[in-house]
């Protein structure tokens, strides 16, 4: 059956949904407001508001005597933050986050490159599955599983033993800072688990960025005389940089804020997340906890500013 319109303008739809469609068509900005309003309110008021409240807290101080918060503007909490013990925590966390980020990017790039350039059909599906699968199981389960893997009686020690490489493991564990009694109580163990847990957050943005690099740019570079290394340095990496930066924001900020992994795997020395947890919980020092949370925000802000200055987002 065909419907032949009698007039140029089709009859108006009488249903409320039809009228709404007409209204939105005439006023597209209203539709935009309706769609974006709730999430923006959520982000703007609830999220930014509480962040601001948190920031405000860091400018108050705690009364040593009564343990009550003194609501007067002061920089005393920041002075406390910059004490040697706390600086130690910050330095430890930032170094760990930086190393985890660098190493993750190093491992993730070839995987992402393979997925973006070569994987097709079922191999691509398999890639997504393999990358996402770890995210399906509980974070805690994975971390405890790693504790068993890295333990002195664990499978890793066993493998080293079977390969007659136990001396290598022992030599590594004998090193200062990165070593310890076993991998599960060393910074090396914390590092391995961080890299494992955040890996998907690094692979996926890099893969998305590489996917957008046209293959003929790689060919053009090669055609103009660029060796594979030069093509990587001058074409592929700069164009994938927004993805690498996005991935590193994830791994960096997630490591800065995490308080579970260093508690389960690693030495007993605190990371920022643990410090915040301890200060706002047992110690009841909300201002210092707030001051600690300001650290990652400042670092991330500085990091993004530097990335922008280095031209990381020029290709966007």
């Amino acid at each position: 059956m065909t419907i032949v319109a009698e007039t140029f303008v089709l009859p108006e739809r009488r249903s409320p949904a039809g009228r709404l469609s007409d209204f939105f068509w005439r006023h597209p900005h209203v539709l935009l407001t309706v769609l974006l309003g709730p999430p923006l309110l959520w982000l703007g008021v609830v999220y930014l508001g509480s962040l601001f409240a948190l920031l405000l807290q860091s400018f108050f101080s705690i009364d040593e005597f009564s343990g009550l918060i003194n609501y007067e503007f002061t920089l005393a909490t920041y002075r406390q933050l910059l004490s040697e013990a706390n600086l130690d925590i910050i330095l430890r966390t930032v170094s760990m986050a930086a190393l985890v980020t660098l190493f993750s990017a190093f491992i993730a790039f070839p995987i992402a490159y393979y997925a973006a350039r070569y994987a097709r059909g079922k191999w691509k599906a398999l890639f997504y599955l393999a990358v996402m699968l770890p995210l399906w199981s509980s974070y805690l389960v994975k971390v405890y599983a790693w504790k068993l893997i890295l333990a002195k009686e664990g499978i890793l020690t066993w493998i080293f033993e079977k390969l007659n490489l136990l001396w290598l493991l022992d030599a590594w564990l004998a090193l200062p800072i990165v070593g310890g009694n076993s991998l599960s109580v060393s910074y090396t163990g914390t590092f391995i688990v961080f890299v494992y847990v955040w890996m998907p957050f690094m692979i996926l943005p890099i893969q998305a960025a590489l996917e957008r690099v046209p293959a003929n740019l790689i060919e053009a570079s090669s055609d103009l005389g660029g060796t594979p290394a030069q093509t990587f340095r001058h074409v592929l990496f700069p164009l994938a940089l927004p993805g690498v930066v996005a991935g590193s924001i994830f791994t960096f900020s997630l490591t800065l804020g995490d308080y579970i992994i260093p508690q389960i795997i690693g030495s007993s020395r605190l990371f920022i997340g643990q410090a915040v947890y301890a200060q706002q919980g047992t110690a009841g020092n909300i201002p210092l906890a707030a001051a600690f949370t300001v650290v990652p925000i400042v670092i991330m802000g500085a990091y993004l500013w530097m990335a922008k200055r280095m031209g990381a987002f020029d290709a966007l």
Binding site: S222, D223, L224, G225
Partner: protein
């Protein structure tokens, strides 16, 4: 004369697909060589074999007497102008053009000067600080050309470089490319699916179909004496006369080609051949009228000068042509 590019029985198969199938060709130094064919005919794969992006499944390639198999693209003195230009979006125009010199380790000042000269050559002086995204299609095309030519390649490969441009710009670029090639003396290998472009620019044309060269020769010869039915059809849409019609005209051939512009709507003069039929269609093409005449079920197109009167559809007409314009062809 030195041979720039030599294909000796080259095949390139992708699984069961024979993209290029036993192709032989030899391109002379300084020649403007066009590879013409429909999409999927193997012409672009041949170009990629010269650039080094593909390796032959079988056969032997020589570029200026040196074996090309196994030589990576970055070690070939051959540069490509890509179909969609492939300019680096994160680099300025100047850095794009200087890229080839940069990766070869030439100093900053020297390569800046060379790149500016190359930009001036393609009539884009002073555009160096812009980004590819700020240029029009025609300008990007010129930048791609400058980026390739600044390396002084021994062979310049052009992969449908004018495909994305509008007609006016395309015609202008055709002339510029031609004169550039003449003044530089570089061997140009040009891939196109536009027969007009191939015929007007090239010294020699290779017509590709299904991975093979159907005909290779000077544009005039390919146009006037198509060797196969495919060439007759693809290059300038010749009339293809069947064996039966050929026989009626006293020619022993399975097929014959007849150019529309070689046919006139007029009774046969001395020594000319003629056929009678009815007018089946007509269309105005500007300089000519294209009139389709039905001769016992065979449709023969006639290019009639626009000044001549056009017979009405359905009216009986006699068409005539010289015997030498009828070219016998192979059956393919």
């Amino acid at each position: 004369m030195t041979t720039a590019v030599l294909f000796d029985n080259i095949s390139r198969h992708f699984g069961a697909v024979r993209a290029v199938d036993r192709v032989n060709l030899s391109i002379a130094e300084g020649e403007f060589f066009a590879m013409l064919g429909p999409s999927g005919s193997g012409k672009t794969t041949c170009l990629r074999l010269m650039a080094g992006f593909e390796q032959p499944t079988a056969g032997h390639i020589e570029i200026f007497g040196e074996t090309a198999e196994g030589v990576p693209p970055y070690r070939r003195s051959v540069n490509t102008v890509f179909q969609d230009y492939a300019l680096f979006p994160h680099l300025s125009i100047l850095d794009n053009v200087a890229y080839g010199l940069m990766v070869k380790g030439i100093g900053r000042e020297e390569r800046r000067k060379a790149a500016e000269d190359a930009l001036a050559m393609v009539k884009l002086p002073g555009y160096g600080t812009r980004r590819p995204g700020q240029l029009s299609g025609g300008q990007r095309q010129r930048v791609a050309l400058a980026r390739a030519l600044v390396n002084k390649p021994k062979v310049l490969l052009l992969d449908e470089p004018l495909g994305a441009l509008d007609l006016k710009l395309r015609e202008q670029m055709q002339e510029e490319l031609k004169s550039l090639q003449k003044s530089l003396g570089i061997t140009f290998v040009f891939v196109t699916h536009d027969q007009g472009e191939a015929l007007s620019m090239a010294d020699r044309v290779a017509v590709f179909n299904e991975g093979r060269i159907q005909q290779l020769g000077r544009p005039e010869d390919v146009y006037n004496q198509p060797k196969t039915r495919f060439v007759a059809d693809f290059v300038g849409s010749s009339n293809v006369l069947t064996a039966k019609l050929c026989q009626r005209l006293g020619l022993q051939a399975s097929f014959a080609s007849l150019r529309p512009e070689a046919v006139a709507i007029a009774p046969a003069a001395d020594g000319a051949l003629s056929l009678s039929g009815t007018v089946a269609g007509r269309s105005f093409l500007g300089a000519t009228n294209r009139i389709v005449v039905d001769v016992d079920g065979n449709r023969i197109a006639v290019a009639s000068p626009a000044a001549h009167s056009v017979p009405a559809i359905g009216s009986p007409v006699t068409i005539s042509f010289a015997a030498r314009d009828l070219h016998p062809m192979e059956d393919a």
